[in-house]
Assembly symmetry: none
Homo-oligomer: 224 residues x 4
DNA sequence: AATGAATGAGCTTTCATTCAT
DNA sequence: CATGAATGAAAGCTCATTCAT
């Protein structure tokens, strides 16, 4: 089955050369990604040289190229790794298994959890920025996140208020996602004293935004 | 008005070497910036080489270094150029001279105007991204935008509802600014059919967010 | 018959590490050489990587090094394989067992047979070129071909006209050999319409060249 | 006007990036080519590293890439340079301005001159071999030499005996050219005592070959 | 002031060969 | 014997910046 990216004509460039199966290989890849993330934080995109990554990860350069076809593929993998963590958080908290909590609480919980991640792992932010560097990277990235935004956030919205078309719901979900990203980034970058305050504002923004849609829906379909 | 660099403490690195006064020089600088913006869209930050800029701008490389101390200074100048345009728009529409329109209308007007700019100049987006990449650039430019966000947006908020502390108002203003940026970016990147829809969502987001604050303020200060 | 390497004084470097005796091993070596030959045609000497050979031959890289001490040894083996085929052809057609045919006919027959080989196996050409590239390989292989040129061609010349010194005869034989090679190569490279024509020219060249020597010999030794 | 190579789809890769016009630049390019030729002789194709060339030529690597788009382009340029020398020799000796000498003498003269060149410049041989390494290089090369073979050798044949069709004449010319190359190469490689002898054989080969064509022509068109 | 050829440190990537399994 | 992941020296090439003209 062809992957999403194989269809775009813009991708495939960052696909892993070899997927590590043995424990030792997986460990290696992990070390490579950790080193890259660390360097990204310390030096910024331009400062991340393949040889530095190798040295920091305690692997020979050659090993990097066993798993990644090129330098940018490392950044892509990093982004995927972090996006997967976000996905896991969303899955854990948005999924339908805990149906009885009011949506506002669920949302607040998600934001708090994400804020913790952002705060505790500066790499999240760094990766996010790094991935914007090349149009292709950005493209691959957005594609990837779109998948779980669709799966999880759209689904969550659908369960909690039904008054929107599917298309509309996807846009709303994406808007929520994007807003969360920037404001979490912003809270970290201009951290200092306002960090927590910005996170609170994020909650306010999302709550009022969603509420507006609920209200609008309620009015337009009063018979519901 | 003092230039941004005088305030940053990290200043000077991107300051123009020579400010073009003669018509021909000004024209050159304009061509350099246009070329850089164009290349930024096509190739991304990493793909913009000084020699390409020079060739595209039809100026010798040496000329670039007459006006800019280094490559990043070009991106900085580009960011300043674009931020100045945004500032002009905000100044024109938020300033106190047209006091009688309801704030919702003013806001919608601003967003529509900005959306036009973003749509017609994809470079806006590219520049914004480029500036995030280098830590120093990010720092310098965030500061710069902070200035007019403070001046104009904070001012606008202050005029329209007074129930927030100054600090809080600055945060709200910043949140508004960041949200506007991402969603405008997003509307451009995923051009297609949803572009207008995303812009509408942006309006909804901002309106409901601000309204929430107004309401909160009203309650907390019932004498109003 | 002693192997070439015993005579070169530069020997050993390309000697097989292990001579395959079991059927499976022999098959493996054959596959390795076939793969190498094929890649040589497609990519040229510089483009043939050991890993490509292994993949194409469906053997693990390690296997290659079981039989060959290094990359160049593969090319050497290839050259030997092909030279052996040429030798077989020459042996079959030049050897004294078919004494009664006029030398012109014998020569034409040989050329036609060789032309068939060259045409049907483009690798012949590629291998020959590859072997020229590395000084040591060239040395080893020229020596090897020298052996059977001496044995067969010189012998053939000796039988058909006796008026040359041995040294002279070796030079003439070598000249014939070299000319045949280039022109067969040329006929293949510039395939198209002229292929057959070039082969005919080759016959003409060789016939007239040899005839000249016969004539010269006849004059210088009128008593014959 | 499009060059020959621009039409093939296989070339253009070796075209100079910048053609040196000033004396100093021309001198640089000459030094680069000299260094490459020298290294080719000493180390063989594989031993010629761009950095070695640069060091030997006393230029920075960067300079090489100002004039040549890649490593192979250097070999191509080298081949062109030497082919141009051959062309000059052919032009000087085959051209119609010296019409009265018998063709055998002209031919002998050309061969002797070429033999001198081959003997005195080992690079000739090395370059010839190097150019065979990549299919594209060989192709570009043959194309280039074909031009002056057509112009000069075909023309020479046409002037001296008229009994061949044009197409045939081109083949004969090419055959002469190829034979001369190998045997000159051979005379140098297996130099030693036989060097002069091989050159003499080359003359014999060519003379008898051409004479055969003259005779054949004369017979087939006796009325001429 | 204007030019653009010159510079070379340093980057990414490759690939023949080995050797632990 | 068989395997193929691991290795890392070393190659080709780039490109921001300078400075002689």
């Amino acid at each position: 089955m062809a992957s999403d990216s194989e269809k775009t004509g813009m991708a495939g460039r960052y696909e892993p050369r070899r997927v590590p199966v043995q424990a030792r290989s997986r460990e290696r890849v992990r070390r490579i990604l950790d080193a890259a993330a660390q360097l990204l934080i310390e030096e910024g995109y331009g400062g991340v040289k393949t040889n530095h990554i190798a040295k920091r990860a305690q692997v020979p350069v050659g090993s990097i190229y066993q798993f990644f076809p090129n330098r940018n593929a490392i950044f892509h993998a990093l982004a995927v790794r972090y996006m997967d963590r976000i996905r896991a958080i969303l899955e854990g908290q948005l999924a339908s298994k805990a149906p009885q909590r009011p949506w506002e609480d669920v949302l607040d919980g998600v934001i708090d959890t994400l804020a913790d991640v952002w705060r505790s792992e500066p790499a999240f932010l760094a990766v996010w920025v790094a991935v914007q560097i090349t149009p292709e990277l950005r493209y691959a990235d957005t594609n990837y996140s779109q998948i779980f935004v669709d799966e999880l956030l759209v689904e969550f919205l659908a369960r909690n208020f039904s008054g929107l078309t599917d298309d509309r719901r996807r846009i709303v979900a994406r808007v929520i996602f994007e807003i969360s990203q920037v404001l979490l980034d912003h809270s970290v970058i201009h951290g200092g004293d306002d960090q927590a305050a910005v996170v609170e504002e994020l909650k306010t923004v999302l709550r009022s935004y969603i509420q507006t849609h609920i209200d609008a829906t309620a009015h337009s379909t009063p018979s519901n």
